[in-house]
């Protein structure tokens, strides 16, 4: 069966990469001099406190032993303990992750929809003013630092139109009794929408350009001429022969650019003070809370690997030419 072979190979490769990523993650964060405790910034940490913390967290043990312990802990879902609040890392990250997910989803959908629309329109009307405007707009947004887009949106849109710029919920909700589900959802959406849209705007440019050039490439293929010769109308050709073929690179691009999406999410959450995993990461950076950082990045890396894996599978499914 065409599928099984490929699936096995790809899963194996992904698992190997996961293992390498875990190891790299471990090595990176252990490479910090003074084993992280010394760099820790907290107000009440005396020297003795830090020393006992070191002992407690097993940071005095030899590296290899630490590594084995780390792996063992991972299999039990233990990502370590925060240096700042002494809670398990997972506890610190769970809610932020849940906050980020819907925002990311909306952002990705927005960027893909706008990107595809812009790209197809541009390719269809290649060389015209529409094309030029589209392309330069996409390029411009792609060139703008994501955090700057965020700042501009907060400054010129959010404050002016009364959008919330911090947190995920209105703190006054629920003071005067149990808020209805609708109010809660509405509130969440209001907090989520600007960060998501901003992230989407920052991301769409790349997709638009890729879709455009992919579509142009496709529209120049011989089978498009054949379709035209067969008497198909333009729009039908674009839909039946053009899109399907041009979208292939986009699908993999989206999956592969997940790292880029996450990076953008980190800064957007900082700008909007949106309590997701991005903000948690930045806080951890500021406080040099290495276990949390390590845990966060492990999760992020694993997600990226997962999406790369999905991209491989998707491409395999969509393009009949790809063989094991």
């Amino acid at each position: 069966m065409r599928g099984a072979d490929y699936l096995i190979k790809r899963t194996g490769a992904a698992l190997l990469t996961v293992f390498v990523a875990i190891t790299l993650n471990f090595v990176l964060f252990r490479a910090v001099p003074g084993n992280a405790i010394t760099a820790l910034r907290c107000l009440h940490c005396t020297k003795q406190f830090k020393a006992s913390l070191q002992e407690e967290l097993g940071l005095n043990k030899p590296m290899l032993q630490q590594y084995t312990i780390y792996l063992g802990n991972l299999t039990q879902g233990d990502l370590g303990t925060s240096l700042v609040d002494r809670r398990p890392v997972w506890q610190n990250l769970k809610t932020p992750i849940l906050n980020t997910l819907p925002m990311l989803a909306v952002a990705t959908i927005v960027s893909v929809v706008i990107g595809v629309a812009a790209g197809v329109m541009s390719a269809w009307r290649r060389g015209t003013r529409v094309d030029r405007i589209n392309t330069w707009t996409a390029l411009s947004f792609y060139a703008m630092p994501t955090q700057w887009i965020g700042l501009m949106i907060v400054f010129y849109v959010a404050l002016r139109f009364g959008f919330p710029v911090a947190g995920i919920r209105d703190p006054t909700l629920g003071i005067l009794g149990e808020p209805s589900t609708w109010t809660v959802i509405n509130d969440r959406i209001r907090h989520l929408i600007l960060p998501a849209l901003t992230l989407g705007i920052g991301l769409y440019g790349e997709y638009a350009l890729i879709v455009r050039s992919s579509m142009l490439e496709t529209l120049g293929e011989d089978y498009v001429l054949t379709a035209r010769a067969k008497g198909l109308k333009n729009l039908r050709i674009v839909y039946r022969h053009g899109l399907r073929n041009a979208m292939l690179p986009l699908v993999t691009l989206i999956a592969l650019s997940f790292g880029y999406i996450l990076a953008g999410a980190i800064v957007i959450e900082e700008v909007f003070s949106y309590p997701g995993i991005g903000l948690a990461t930045i806080d951890a950076i500021d406080r040099r809370d290495y276990p949390v950082l390590q845990g966060a990045f492990l999760l992020l890396t694993l997600t990226v690997i997962f999406f790369n894996f999905v991209a491989d599978l998707l491409y395999f499914k969509l393009d009949p030419r790809v063989t094991a």
Partner: protein, 320 residues
């Protein structure tokens, strides 16, 4: 945080019958009227000039507090003051130095590493190729942001370290590109070598390969400058930049931490981002034009909204 290599914008509309116009080298194309490339080059040159002439151009000192926090723009201070009372225009001009320096240095370093790996890999082939490509793959797996954090923690937050980090993250795409080019050039070179009488020295052949690869390398480097500057703003925003240097990235971060938003100080928020965007766009225009000049995408689309036109028969040409 991989800002992917800028995707191609696509070439111009052209006739399917190949014109006899000679293929122009990328530099010639730059100078002889590809408008996009020209505009980009001019903008870039302008920023570089400003950066170099910073001490001459800036109205004030970049460290001197000359007024109140977030003072509004006036005739004395065209872009007002920042959260430290420093003249915004001055600090913007000096920021150009840092940002452009990091951009060019990181890109240059990435070009050196990536170019070398690419050439060796593409030319040697076989085991060398496999090993080098494996190494490249592993470099891709290294997560960007943790690397930045760790390097900042281990070796401190200096400009040099930032340049190194960026180069380390981005050399791989250059390597891949150059490798592909070298592989295709290698075929031609081997054919030539087979026909010549003398035994070619590897170095001699490098003399054949290098000229063919250099234009692409340069174009790619220009594009990487854009990516590097983008990366620098990111690193600065995470608070991992060089604290003693002010770059545009740092200015953007300052506008957040300094509360520019709530002080309604647009002059602290808008200008650094515009500068970054303009420089990145300029690099993209130049780099993309160069790449297009080398791989002209003359593929005509078979579909268009517009139809072919009808016209009347020409009058009889020539005499008879």
């Amino acid at each position: 945080m991989t800002m992917e290599a800028i995707p191609p914008i696509g070439g111009e509309v052209a006739a399917p019958v190949a014109s006899n116009r000679a293929r122009r080298g990328p530099v010639r194309k730059l100078l002889t009227g590809d408008r996009q490339a020209l505009v980009g080059a001019v903008v870039l040159a302008l920023f570089v000039a400003i950066a170099i002439a910073a001490p001459l151009l800036s109205p004030y000192s970049p460290t001197a507090k000359v007024g109140a926090v977030y003072e509004r723009p006036s005739s004395a201070h065209w872009l007002g003051l920042d959260d430290g009372g420093i003249d915004m225009l001055t600090i913007l001009i000096w920021g150009a130095r840092v940002s452009l320096l990091v951009g060019f240095a990181a890109s240059f370093m990435a070009m050196l590493i990536g170019g070398t790996v690419g050439i060796l890999s593409g030319y040697m082939g076989g085991k060398t190729d496999t090993v080098l490509m494996r190494i490249t793959d592993y470099f891709l797996v290294i997560p960007d942001v943790p690397l930045m954090i760790v390097v900042a923690a281990i070796w401190g937050q200096s400009l040099f370290n930032i340049v190194v980090i960026i180069a380390v993250i981005y050399w791989t795409s250059t390597a891949r590109l150059i490798r592909a080019q070298v592989k295709s050039v290698r075929e031609q070179v081997y054919v030539k070598r087979a026909r010549s009488l003398g035994a070619g020295n590897t170095r001699l052949i490098m003399k054949h390969v290098l000229p063919q690869v250099t234009p692409l390398l340069i174009a790619n480097t220009v594009l990487t400058v854009a990516t590097a500057i983008f990366a620098e703003t990111y690193i600065a925003f995470l608070g991992l930049g060089d604290p003693s240097q002010v770059s545009w990235g740092k200015l953007i971060q300052n506008s957040l931490t300094g509360g520019a938003i709530f002080s309604d100080a647009w002059w602290a928020i808008v200008p650094p981002g515009i500068c970054v965007t303009l420089v990145i766009l300029a690099c993209t225009m130049v780099g993309q034009s160069m790449e297009d000049a080398m791989n002209p995408r003359l593929k005509v689309g078979h579909l268009s909204v517009h139809r072919f036109r009808l016209r009347s028969l020409p009058r009889e040409p020539g005499g008879d």
